[in-house]
């Protein structure tokens, strides 16, 4: 187990290293364009040359990459062009706001999708199963921006009971979180439900479930004591991997509802060509995604004795 964790962590580090190279090459391969982004399109050629020289951009590529990597690792992301402050000062509060959004999304998503998935999967092919499956296809077919539009039309325009933006300009307001969380949950609940359903349906065909039923144990008890324990291992991984997906979803949702989170920040950075902010956002996003994937793998191995004891 320990050597497995160690190997997994090493792989994570290697992935991050490769990702950093990709991000670096994507954004900084051409120093000239970096200078244009930092100094603006109206800077003179001379200014750009001076800036490039002063900031070490005339060094060979590999040296620039290593220095860049060193700064990234120590959390020195440079200065934001748009906000005129160090990137870290904008980034961390925004990330915290997104964490709040993510927390509530998962707090709704996990119980909801597991319940629906178990209900659908315990009697495969039943009417309830069909209904849940079709509903989950429909909800996953509606892109987040579309469900944001639909839900706003209903709850903001039609009923007028929820605020249409979530800028939190007068301090934290839980009401403003409801629509963003609803949109994120609605898009993802179908997928997690289907995964849980598949896992539950598979467990229900196992011999020990048949034995339990034939022994005369009441059906709800068979589900709770025998079925769930094994059926909920695969959804654990699926749910952990939703964090990666959530980092995509928040870009759309935060933009739509003007929520001051990480996704909106990344978008604002790229619309304004704020190169250092884009780099930092991308690296942080991948770091969160890769770390959760590693945790999911380790957790899955721990939960599943068939793998753990090998």
């Amino acid at each position: 187990m320990l050597s497995f964790i160690f190997r997994r962590l090493a792989l994570t580090a290697a992935t991050m290293l490769a990702v950093s190279l990709l991000v670096f090459l994507l954004l900084e391969l051409n120093p000239g364009s970096v200078a244009v982004k930092v100094l603006g399109p109206y800077s003179s050629e001379e200014q750009r040359q001076l800036w490039l020289e002063a900031n070490g951009y005339l060094n060979p590529l590999w040296q620039r990459y290593l220095e860049w990597l060193g700064r990234m690792v120590t959390g020195d992301f440079g200065e934001s062009i748009r906000f005129k402050v160090p990137v870290a000062e904008v980034l961390w509060p925004r990330l915290w706001n997104t964490a709040i959004l993510a927390f509530w999304t998962f707090a709704v998503l996990i119980p909801l999708s597991l319940t629906l998935g178990v209900l659908a999967g315990m009697r495969e092919g039943s009417r309830l199963d069909r209904a849940i499956s079709i509903t989950s296809i429909i909800t996953t077919s509606i892109p987040e921006f579309a469900s944001a539009v639909f839900l706003s039309a209903i709850f903001v325009f039609g009923l007028g009971i929820l605020p249409g933006t979530s800028a939190m300009s007068n301090g934290f307001d839980p009401l403003q979180l409801i629509l963003p969380v609803m949109v994120l949950v609605l898009y993802d609940v179908g997928y997690v439900t289907r995964m849980t359903r598949a896992s539950m349906a598979e467990v229900m065909t196992a011999p020990y479930i048949r034995t339990a039923v034939l022994k005369g144990i009441p059906f709800p008890r068979v589900i709770l004591r025998h079925g769930l324990r094994n059926a909920l291992i695969p959804p654990f991984t699926v749910i952990m991997l939703q964090i990666n997906w959530l980092l995509s979803g928040v870009v759309v949702v935060e933009f739509f509802f003007a929520y001051k989170g990480f996704g909106a920040l990344l978008l604002e950075a790229s619309l304004n060509q704020d190169i250092y902010l884009i780099q930092a956002c991308a690296m942080v996003a991948v770091f969160v995604a890769v770390t959760t994937q590693t945790l999911a793998d380790i957790g899955y191995t721990y939960l599943n004795p068939r793998i753990r004891l090998q």
């Binding site: 079709i134 870009v251 759309v252 933009f255």
Partner: protein, 296 residues
């Protein structure tokens, strides 16, 4: 893979009969039928856009008209209203279907071409090629997908061809993974060994012997993938990273009307219904096809 399993070779039925059987299979699944219906509807709309659209989609006629308002300065009715620049929303949705379907199809096809080639090579050659391609894929797939799109589009700029490039770059690894795992299963079959014995070259074996035998799961995946790509094109348009204006695209329409959505919901709701129904069609078709393939 036993020797007998594939020894009983029989001639494949003629193409026409296979297509008829396919349609018959579709009829077995109401879900797939509804999905196929939605897709056919939008393809027809795209093809007949010049005939169907009542107005020019880019001409400013009468701003902020509610659905059903007649055109004051001419003949015709704005059945779905107009946007803030006075452009007819129905016409924009109809013409926008061309954009979405065209780029959706081209981007999916391009991602498939690259992904299938990578997957065939990785699964067939194995060894260092597999290792290299798989690791490369892992790295790209470790990005939250939209973060990758935003970074790529921010770097290379927003345009139709760049959307195709970004989708190819971001989705090919996922397709590669699926193809690779299917190829690993097929490459040990006797007919592959026979082709090797005949001295066929590697790409002939991959494309002629292996690829046709993994098409089933790939067709299902292609439907789902095209759904994702459609969403992606919509999202990029919505975020302002999509196709440059003024030509209509559904995501872009929503982005432009976003600030007026609370006063004039028809400007945003209708393109959203359009894109959702197209994606729903693709997802239902994929689900139905998967169910049919599991049944035999």
């Amino acid at each position: 893979m036993s020797m007998t399993e594939h020894a009983a070779g029989h001639l494949p039925p003629p193409r026409l009969i296979r297509i008829l059987r396919m349609v018959g299979l579709l009829r077995e699944s109401p879900v797939a039928m509804i999905g196929a219906g939605l897709i056919v509807f939008w393809i027809a709309v795209a093809i007949f856009a010049p005939l169907l659209a009542p107005f020019d989609p880019n001409v400013n006629l009468q701003p902020f008209a509610k659905p059903g308002t007649p055109y004051a300065a001419g003949s015709g009715v704005f059945w779905l209203g107009t946007d803030h620049l006075g452009r007819d929303i129905l016409s924009r949705i109809i013409w926008g279907s061309q954009t979405v379907l065209f780029y959706g199809f081209v981007a999916t096809a391009s991602a498939y071409a690259v992904g299938v080639a990578m997957g065939l090579a990785a699964g067939y050659y194995r060894g260092w090629i597999d290792e290299l391609l798989s690791r490369l894929g892992d790295i790209i797939l470790s990005f939250p997908i939209l973060v990758l799109y935003v970074v790529i589009i921010a770097t290379i700029g927003a345009s139709g061809i760049n959307i195709v490039l970004a989708v190819t770059f971001a989705s090919a690894p996922a397709i590669m993974r699926i193809v690779r795992s299917l190829v690993l299963e097929i490459r040990e079959r006797d007919y592959v060994a026979a082709a090797k014995m005949r001295g066929e070259n590697a790409w002939y074996i991959m494309l002629v012997e292996i690829l046709p035998n993994v098409r089933g799961p790939l067709i299902v995946d292609a439907c789902l993938r095209m759904g994702y790509v459609t969403i992606t094109i919509g999202v990029l348009g919505f975020l302002g990273l999509g196709l440059p204006p003024p030509d209509p695209d559904w995501g872009g329409m929503i982005n432009e009307a976003r600030s007026m959505a609370l006063a004039f919901p028809h400007m945003t709701v209708l393109p959203c219904i359009a894109i959702s129904s197209l994606v729903l069609g693709l997802n239902l078709l994929a689900d139905g096809l998967r169910e049919i393939s599991l049944r035999d």
